[in-house]
């Protein structure tokens, strides 16, 4: 195994969508590095740019609206944007696999789950149809579904089982990188607990790296090693799980935590972030969060905050930390 195996590096990624001659700034200057075997949680609310970042890794942005303005993405050391269509097809589903959010709509209703799991193995690994189907049964067993159900159709499975089938499809070719876009959002809480346990077990067994996209900090706490908090297309704070959960610095990160009901103290008041997510076609000048920020200073509406490293693992992009690394919240 060479040093470049199982790595993902996103450098200064900027993506725009052009809709009706207007420019949507979906992702701006995003940097993410995930070392082998680790899981990175990308957290943010609707429209923060999480899914756009994920689709860029597979070079799957909707065309013609989507446009990579700048940046590079290295999968196992290879620059994704320099690959030919043929090389991209070879990479997708093989080196990089994706689990989509909605288990109800991401399976083909007229193919058996076995055929859908086997498809990738036939294409990428050159496995015979019979052998692929046999391995598909093994994959089903691995995600906790009896292998005998390979010849059943998606409608015969419940929501939680469909999501397991999708995970089995993604893992069929033993990918180096798994991108999971809100993999448990559509599931009930007891089924979510089962799927999260499955994800944790898979991680322990393989050096695969995972990019987990979610809006749920509770899910992040269970499966991630690193966390990036995204707001209006930028990562505003990034660090290890402990950096973010024990030592958060950005007022937006604070706001996300304060918006969650405290399970231990039901009388604690919720402190929502005032206002709304800005229109990505018309972002406020300076720090995009300043109109909603209780700590905003004059420079916040004027200048873009620079990235400030607080430790080897933890950075924040906020004017509160221009002079100090002390926690200002």
């Amino acid at each position: 195994m060479n040093a470049q195996q199982n790595t993902l590096e996103i450098k200064n990624l900027t993506v725009e969508y052009v809709v009706d001659d207007e420019v949507v700034h979906a992702v701006t200057g995003v940097n993410i590095t995930i070392p082998a075997g680790k899981t990175f949680g990308l957290v943010g609310e609707t429209g923060a740019g999480k899914t756009t970042t994920a689709l860029s890794i597979l070079n799957l942005l909707p065309l013609p609206a989507g446009r990579i303005v700048s940046g590079e993405i290295f999968v196992n050391g290879q620059d994704v944007f320099k690959l030919s269509p043929k090389q991209l097809r070879a990479m997708r589903g093989s080196q990089v696999a994706m689990v989509f959010q909605d288990p109800m709509s991401s399976l083909n209703p007229i193919k058996t789950v076995g055929e859908q799991i086997a498809e990738g193995m036939k294409i990428h690994r050159g496995v015979s149809a019979k052998e692929a189907l046999r391995q598909a049964a093994n994959m089903l067993e691995m995600v906790g579904i009896p292998g005998g159900r390979v010849s059943e159709y998606p409608h015969q499975f419940s929501g939680g089982m469909k999501q397991r089938v999708i995970i089995a499809i993604a893992l069929a070719c033993n990918p180096d990188i798994l991108i999971a876009d809100e993999p448990t959002t559509a599931l009930d809480v007891t089924i979510q607990a089962q799927v999260l346990k499955l994800i944790r077990e898979l991680r322990e067994k393989s050096p695969m790296i995972m990019l987990m996209i979610t809006h749920a900090l509770g899910v992040v706490a269970e499966v991630c090693d690193f966390v990036g908090i995204m707001y209006a297309g930028r990562i505003v704070e990034c660090g290890t799980l402990a950096d973010i959960f024990d030592n958060l610095r950005h007022p937006y990160t604070r706001g996300l935590f304060d918006s969650l009901p405290d399970i231990e103290n039901r009388r604690a008041e919720l402190k929502p972030i005032p206002g709304l997510i800005p229109d990505p076609m018309n972002l406020p000048p300076g720090c995009a969060f300043h109109p909603r920020c209780a700590y905003a200073k004059p420079e916040c509406s004027r200048d873009l905050p620079q990235v400030r490293w607080l430790s080897d693992t933890h950075y924040v992009s906020c004017h509160l930390y221009n002079e100090t690394v002390e926690n200002m919240l």
Binding site: E45, T46, S158, G159, G160, M161, D188, V189, T190, I191, Q192, A193, Q194, L196, K197, H215, A216, L217, G218, V219, V220, A221, E222, L241, A242, F245, D246, G255, L256, F257, D258, S259, L260, P261, D262, I263, R266, A268, E269, L270, K271, P272, I273, P274, L276, I277
Partner: protein, 323 residues
């Protein structure tokens, strides 16, 4: 006039069965509870447990198969259509999906005004308009939005419109069917706080239906847990969270993903998934997934009993108080 502590709604042995190709689907099966004025009862459960059907059946948006709903001393099932329509001024609903529950061809003002107009509550159009502005103010919608259409608004604002419309009749009781589950967390907290303020200011009683246990804990005074059409446990929120009695409630609570990395609890993982509510056997419906299943559980259906003061549970592990 009722004061705080008086019973506003009593549901007795409510059943709603649907006839489907495979048999009879017991969506709501023999559910009974009381709800005091000014309080919030949270109904929790997973998809398909019957919580939405329960809310709609109470309002007679779906006719029950049998049972009684006594609201403010009146048996709702005995009311004729026009009496029921009149009664609905006092009983409103906020729907889950603010994207599909608003008419896309009506402006915000028209949407909020419609129920007031239809009820003939304020015949004078200028005064009615003032009432609309007043309601928009109550739910935190800026006046400049008055002529906008739903597609121009984000989810949080649409849900505010839904709340304003529900409040237009000055109701006593509102069924809230997953009112925040399609919203982002920062917006969800705004709407929950708004609903609490409204309850405090207007003394409204809520039936709060949700699958989100941390939200229901924060929002409700009492919580009822449903499983496959049955009410399996009901208790004050604190008691339910501190000492759940039903093994299903226990597993449900332990499955909540908590945004915390220290002091994490051991999780009880349930086997399998919800079984079917079609033609259920007269046994405990949770038995197949239960980690404490006994012989009796697969033979007899446990009734809802009061195991501790105000703490009701339907499980063979527990005996009625004083027995």
């Amino acid at each position: 006039m009722n004061s705080l502590g008086e019973i506003l709604l009593e549901v007795k042995n409510l059943k709603k069965y649907f006839h489907v190709a495979a048999g009879t689907l017991h969506a709501v099966d023999d559910v009974s509870f009381t709800l005091e004025e000014g309080r919030t009862l949270g109904i929790v459960g997973e998809s398909g447990c019957g919580k939405t059907t329960l809310g709609r059946t109470i309002l007679r948006l779906i006719e029950p198969t049998s049972g009684e709903m006594v609201f403010n001393g009146k048996d709702l099932r005995k009311l004729n259509t026009s009496e029921m329509r009149y009664m609905r001024r006092e009983m409103q609903i906020i729907f889950q999906d603010p994207y599909s529950s608003l008419n896309p061809r009506m402006t915000i003002a028209e949407t909020i005004e419609e129920p007031i107009f239809l009820a003939g509550l304020i015949p004078d159009s200028d005064k009615r308009f003032m009432r609309v502005l007043d309601l928009m103010d109550t739910v935190g919608l800026a006046q400049r939005l008055i002529n906008t259409y739903p597609h121009e608004l984000d989810g949080g604002r649409r849900q505010r419109v839904g709340i304003a419309r529900a409040l237009a009749m000055n109701p006593k009781f509102i069924v809230c069917d997953e009112p925040v589950s399609s919203l982002d967390v920062s917006i969800q907290a705004q709407i929950l706080n708004l609903m609490k303020t409204i309850q405090r200011d207007m003394g409204i009683t809520y039936l709060f239906i949700t699958h989100d246990l941390s939200v229901v804990n924060h929002f409700s005074d009492d919580i009822a847990v449903m499983y496959l059409g049955r009410l399996v446990e009901k208790a004050p929120s604190e008691a339910l969270f501190q000492k759940p009695l039903h093994p299903y409630t226990e597993a449900l609570l332990s499955a909540i993903p908590v945004a915390r990395i220290h002091n994490r609890h051991e999780r009880i993982l349930l086997k399998g998934e919800l079984t079917s509510p079609i033609n259920p056997e007269p046994v405990c419906r949770f038995a197949a997934r239960c980690n404490q299943c006994m012989d009796i559980c697969t033979k007899e259906e446990p009734p809802l009993i009061e195991a501790r003061p105000n703490h009701f549970v339907a499980c063979h592990l527990h005996k009625p108080m004083g027995s």
